[in-house]
Amino acid sequence: MNKQRYFEKEIIGEKDGSLALMGRLCDECGKKSFPPIELCPYCASDKLQNVFLEDEVTVLAATTTRAPVPPYDPPFTLAIVDMEDGIRTIGRVEKNKDVKIKKGDKLAVKFGKLFEETEFNKKTKSKETIDVIGYYFVPKG
């Protein structure tokens, strides 16, 4: 099996044996943010703790890319989605498929390999493949 890494640090965590998205909860102003950044974007406090986010999101807008975007081959669909507590973010819908979705649709959060990268291992003096793990959404129901 290939080595694995998450595509962003501290964005994914393990909750009850399975993966979940992680945001930050500010102890001072009580607001949540995602993806995790260093100081609270609302009040600049450093008193932040990691929290797991819910596994359902709602589509604001979605669109399909028809040209290659290395390392991705077309077509693929991206959506702006709303999460709990007013968090708005972006993600892939399915991994490599043209998906028809619209505003208001509910999507579930999934985890898996987004792409592969190769890295030179100085110890073994050989190239090795790393699976870059991220999140994506799938239509619910």
């Binding site: 950044i37 669109t63 991206l78 505003k103």
Partner: protein, 391 residues
Amino acid sequence: MIMRDVYVLGIGQTKFGVFEEYTGVDLGVMASVEAVKDAGISAKEIQVAYGGYCRGPSTQAQMAFMRLGIGSIPIANLNNACASGNTAVDMLYRDIAGGFCEVGLAAGFESLTQASKEGRKGLLAIKEDFGGMMGLTMPGFFSFVYQRLIDERGATMEDLCYPAIKNHYNAQFNPLAQYNKPLTYEQIMESRVVVDPITVLQCCPQSDGGAAVVLCSEAYFKKHNVNNHLKIRVAASVVHSSGWLSTQKDPLFSQVNREATDKAYNMAGIDPKDLDFAEIHDAFSGEEVSAYEPMRFCPEGECIKYVREKYFDLNGKFPINTSGGLLSLGHPLGASGARVNCEVVRQLRNQAGGYQVEGARLGLAQMLGSVLFGGNESAVVCGIQILEKVE
């Protein structure tokens, strides 16, 4: 602090297009030489100089300006994406307004032809960017904006292609434009789809070019205006960035555009209705439509009504992108922010030829520079200058 008035003494601009034979620095030199000549001064007079660009090695500003004999003065390189040129102009404006110098040069230049020789095929996702890692691109972001205009403003594809049709029409009168041919709606829609529903003819081209301005104090203008240029004052200069909280907003309505234009209107002491025309960021056709409301060129909720009235035509009530805009004039990233300032000056001096706006007195130059993040604007910068013809 007491701020002094700042005036435009000279402008220079190359033709925009694809130039295999030139580097970005070459294009910066050509524009700067022309700007200094137009100012009617020796390049040795320049007391401070700024260069804006996005691609290639460091210190390209020094590489360019030394070829004009400029040296032993403060020179700085600015990368603020598409607003790099406005940022160069803004830095120079501050220096003169603040009394640090009397005259200086601000240039923007870029060769995307040279830059793309090192690049890969396909659309460019932004490295270091959260959305970019999932395949988000510039047309990808603006396709969300299209979707929101369709959902919330009832826009049709014909409405969203209005700027592409209008700006390609305007460019046929501009000898410096990359493309000089009008386009029909059918031609635009029949071209290749990049990101649904954006076809390639709704996107600006890859371009090379340079643009430069010489700014000075009032006393300097009085003493050195040997070419008898009309007196054009920088009524406002603003560089404004959004922040993380923008990622929580709706891409339908650009918050950074709203905040930056309000700051500029306030600084100039004008109402948006006082403006006669504007040159703005139209990297994608529908993007221009999305800017009308935040920049107060029409009331909130009414952008599509104004599109259907052809309000922003060359002969309309408020002409936008009379030069052909990024869509048809071309978009050498770092050059465009300086170029919009040259365009506004050309209109105010009544030198715009076939695309002249009659009686132009007050014009706005804007560029929006952006790296993507989190599915919405955040690491975005808006540069604006408002220029006024002083009687």
